[in-house]
Symmetry: C2
Subunit: 354 residues, 2 copies
């Protein structure tokens, strides 16, 4: 694509904003020069940073926003009082067509609430879902959704998540026909909740443009058994955080092992370049960038504690999705879903067991 892309950036969101935001734009600008940035926030502070990052300065425009939504603010409060904040204005720029996507490292609940309120859900999407990536042994990433936008999901919503996750994998990982699995407690057909079994049947009936593999289990996320793992926001959030906690536990064990005695320390010193590479590989920044999928606008959430490198990864996700046709694909598959449901309803009249 030739046309220039514009990303709307919440300059003040996140633990170390605006510093890591400008640093992240600088990293991203070094990778490609056809994206421009509208940075919303404290003009003086952001301009002072841009003076230190010439690559970012060349492609950025700073827009004043007098307010900041901090991490403690509740979503409902952000909706009532957030107008004029850097986050609100960053979302609004996309809504008004001045930018193609918004990226923020700020308050997740506030970001989701404002995005949903301003962009609205796509037609046919009951519940937008927070979508993220998790590294896999195969070397790439597993797409996981929902990781916390909703605490429950019925079968139809799970099918919508599958559609959205497949579109994400196609856009971000470049997989032509993503493989998709429903997270369950066993791979057998008869396992799990009613809702999950009904979702599997619906996906099979609808004939989506994806390689549906049925049920997968928790360890399949890191194994990379499928490209996309679909679950409700309660289970997905807990799975993600359990994985994060375990990665930190193992890193802690490793640190303890390699600092316990002079032989271990010497070995670690000699293996230092390899261990540094391992650390970079385990850095959550490399797969940063969660997307609130299913809206009429593109909203990408960076981890609040991301560094510049991590924020650049979130910008990459926004760029790839903004340049793809993910929304058109989702719409096409939602039409197929509606058709499958209509034919289901015709085949099994109300009151009869399906």
């Amino acid at each position: 694509m030739i046309e220039s892309l514009v990303l709307s950036i919440d300059g003040m969101g996140g633990d170390n904003a605006p510093d890591i935001v400008v640093e992240g734009i600088n990293v991203a600008a070094g990778r490609r020069n056809d994206v421009r940035y509208l940075i919303h926030g404290d003009v003086a502070r952001i301009n002072a940073l841009l003076d230190r990052y010439p690559a970012a300065k060349a492609v950025s425009q700073v827009i004043a926003a007098e307010k900041v939504i901090t991490m403690e603010v509740k979503a409902s409060q952000a909706l009532r009082q957030g107008k004029g904040s850097s986050l609100w204005n960053a979302v609004q720029a996309v809504e008004e067509g001045r930018a193609n996507a918004v990226v923020s490292a700020g308050n997740t609940g506030a970001f989701m609430a404002i995005s949903l309120f301003r962009f609205r859900a796509m037609e046919g999407v009951h519940r937008p879902a927070l979508t993220t990536r998790w590294p896999s042994i195969k070397g790439g990433y597993t797409v996981l959704l929902d990781v916390g936008a909703n605490v429950e999901a019925d079968s139809e919503q799970l099918v919508e998540f599958a559609i959205m996750g497949a579109a994400f994998a196609r856009a971000v990982s470049g997989i032509a026909k993503p493989s998709v699995g429903l997270l369950n407690v066993g791979a057998e057909e008869q396992k799990g909740h009613e809702e999950i079994r009904a979702a599997a049947a619906l996906i099979r009936a609808a004939g989506f443009d994806m390689d549906f593999r049925g049920f997968v289990e928790g360890d399949d996320i890191a194994k990379g058994t499928v490209d996309v793992v679909v679950t409700d926001g309660f289970t997905g959030n807990i799975a993600l955080k359990t994985g994060e906690g375990t990665a930190r536990l193992v890193a802690h064990y490793l640190r303890e092992a390699l600092t316990g005695g002079w032989m271990a320390k010497l070995g670690a010193l000699i293996a230092y370049p390899a261990l540094r590479k391992l650390r970079a590989r385990m850095d959550p920044g490399t797969f940063n960038g969660a997307v609130f999928l299913g809206l009429n606008g593109l909203a990408v959430k960076s981890h609040g504690s991301a560094n510049g490198h991590g924020f650049a990864a979130a910008i990459d996700v926004a760029t790839l999705l903004a340049r793809s046709h993910y929304r058109a694909e989702i719409a096409t598959n939602l039409t197929r879903l509606a058709a499958a449901e209509a034919s289901n309803a015709a085949a099994a009249p109300a009151g009869e067991a399906s």
Copy 2:
């Protein structure tokens, strides 16, 4: 306690039975000499192994069982056709008072079904729960339940799990007043499902003998924020397997890092004793032994792929629980729960919002 404990062992369950079973008994027998073992299974094969493990031989008696329930057998099938198998007979020995607990590394579904059928649930327990441990950064273990006995749990069942988990922590980890948390998507009062919030209110009202800390998140399992993490079997199973998958992912990364180039290999060689200790620490065998809690009999499940060292850890869990008063404690707290529910019902008559 002076009296001798008797453990009933499924000699044929697990990927490497009966070898690892006898090896495990041998390891356990080296730790304490006041436990005797009834080993059910193929007499000739088990006796041949006992000849190689004198410590095990001194404390074991072999009882013939002509059948084996393999890993592929469904729970319903095991119930119909399992009579006379090593697993069935091992459970029956406890039911008939010939042993204090049963340990098996065999088919989990079959073991749970046969245990529930023969032992029956304790009075007041709606659903027994599979209870396991996960290593924590604090150095000990976090008790986690339910990890897969049921796919759903209402508020009352979650409260029962909390009671059972606290009793487990007291017996196995020796904690006088275990801290307990309910697994949720956020620590705030208003987060999560209706059922979880109701469970929290019920635990607070009932005044159990535990240190209830409200909601915890997925990463708190490995952090060791609380001694016991309570959740439904669907979420618990997925959290556990996601954690296992992540631990394997990081181990894979570490292996790749330390074999990539001669410097890394040299460093790893020098740090080898430390890395071997790390490996032992990450070995799931060290925290092996899941308990199917809430029954009138004690059933301990070893991982199917456990080695002798892992099977001995499961024997340790069985020994500690069998020597504790965990069932009496559960019964006492269930009585408190019933009283709290009765006073709840009296305070909020039907039809009125509580």
